[in-house]
């Protein structure tokens, strides 16, 4: 399958990306790892006429310790997350979940920024970032702004990013090497989650998030509140589907997804919160 024709521009700086987006508007797309965009282009579900290839923007590939938080460049690949010593020490949950994305080939090329900007509720990293209360730094024609992950995801493949903006940095708190558990239910090893459930401790609270249980990544607040008020893991996990809008597709009905969310949250709580 061959995508529709486009003009290919390899960019060398963030400024060049911003200028390109300003010039071509919604005709242009940033190409990062291409692990979501190229499949869509091959199916002609996406037909950008200009691709700004940011794949060699090494300046935006880093994981650095900023004292009270960690900063990750948007072009940091999943592979770099899953092998990072700094993350192992300071944010083990993010490192662990990154290792669950797709397969080795996908993780060699896909980036954290691409996962966030793509806004797919079936992706793994957006859920962990929402539960971490991460912040996203975005550059646009009128400068930079910092957005809370809680308000960033708007709907299926829809985010706060405008057509003229680029995500440049992801900031996460230092949660340490604490226990975490991610249960990803799928049919083929490399696939997206039919439902995913994540639990970990951060800043003295229990965090629980769900993948593919709505049009955006979901923080399971009902479960978190139940835990905070002393409920058992079983009682708290019973609240997993509260407030979700589980999709219905060839893999699972909404009711089955709701069932899975309760079962998987229970397993994740038992493993992570001991």
């Amino acid at each position: 399958m061959i995508p529709a024709s486009f003009e290919y521009i390899r960019v060398d700086s963030t400024e060049q990306v911003i200028a390109g987006l300003a010039e071509y508007g919604d005709e242009a797309k940033i190409l990062a790892g291409g692990m979501s965009l190229i499949p869509l282009m091959k199916l002609r579900l996406a037909t950008p006429t200009v691709l700004l290839d940011a794949g060699r923007l090494d300046d935006l590939s880093y994981i650095s310790d900023k004292g009270d938080y960690l900063a990750l460049g948007a072009l940091t690949r999943h592979r770099d997350l899953e092998t990072s010593d700094l993350l192992a020490k300071e944010c083990a949950v993010l490192r662990g979940v990154a290792a669950e994305v797709g397969d080795n080939q996908v993780r060699h090329r896909g980036t954290i920024g691409g996962s966030v900007a793509h806004g797919d509720p079936a992706s793994d990293l957006p859920a962990v970032l929402v539960a971490l209360e991460a912040e996203f730094v975005v550059e646009g024609p009128s400068g930079s702004r910092t957005l809370a992950s809680a308000n960033f995801f708007k709907g299926f493949l829809e985010t706060e990013l405008s057509e003229t903006e680029m995500l440049t940095e992801i900031r996460v708190p230092k949660t340490g090497a604490t226990n975490w558990s991610y249960h990803k239910f799928n049919r083929r090893a490399q696939d997206w989650a039919i439902v995913g459930a994540l639990a970990f401790r951060a800043q003295d609270s229990s965090r629980v998030a769900l993948v593919n249980m709505g049009s955006v990544p979901i923080r399971a607040t009902a479960v978190e509140q139940a835990l905070a008020s002393g409920a058992s893991h079983a009682e708290a996990a019973d609240q997993a589907a509260v407030g979700t809008e589980a999709p219905e597709d060839s893999n699972a009905s909404s009711a089955y997804r709701e069932h899975l969310s309760r079962v998987l949250v229970k397993r994740a709580l038992d493993e992570a919160l001991v």
């Binding site: 024709s5 091959k42 691709l51 290839d53 397969d103 080795n104 060699h108 090329r109």
Partner: protein, 152 residues
């Protein structure tokens, strides 16, 4: 557009459309047909090659993205007419039947052993999750990769 990719050490410079996939470049322009297209939807791994030493699915990359990079295909693994250790153990352990997945499996295994030189069986099974084989049931493929890891 004109791009240059070092393929198995040979500099290949060709005029391509930006939408040319890396696998097309390799098969149709570099005339190296060892790399196969199985699913064409990034699921099966038959098209796996090494891009700057790391496994990648060449059906899900534009050739233009590899401009200036070094690509290794199955044709690039032999030295002096001899199989490399992964190829040899696929033969020894009967790690293939029809052979369609093999080039991709071998390239994925080469990349995996680079990253995990002494893998457990589970490391190998997880490390090859991006590669599908419809014939062997994977058992002998895993045995072959484990055997290759023991060859130092």
């Amino acid at each position: 557009m004109k791009i240059s990719i070092s393929v198995n050490g040979d500099k290949q410079t060709h005029d391509v459309e930006p939408r040319t996939l890396l696998v097309q470049f390799l098969r149709e322009q570099a005339n190296l047909t060892g790399t196969k297209v199985g699913c064409d939807t990034s699921s099966c791994g038959a098209c796996t090659v090494l891009v700057d030493g790391e496994s990648a699915k060449s059906c899900t990359m534009f050739a233009a993205q590899a401009d200036g990079s070094a690509v290794t295909t199955i044709e690039g693994l032999m030295t002096d007419g001899k199989f490399n250790r992964v190829q040899q153990s696929f033969q020894d352990e009967h790690g293939l039947q029809c052979g369609f997945c093999t080039a991709g499996m071998v390239m994925a295994a080469v990349s995996l052993l680079e990253e995990i030189p002494n893998p457990t069986e589970s490391d190998v099974r997880i490390g090859l999750e991006g590669n599908l084989c419809r014939c062997t049931g994977y058992h002998n493929i895993v045995k072959a990769v484990m055997a290759a890891a023991r060859v130092k």
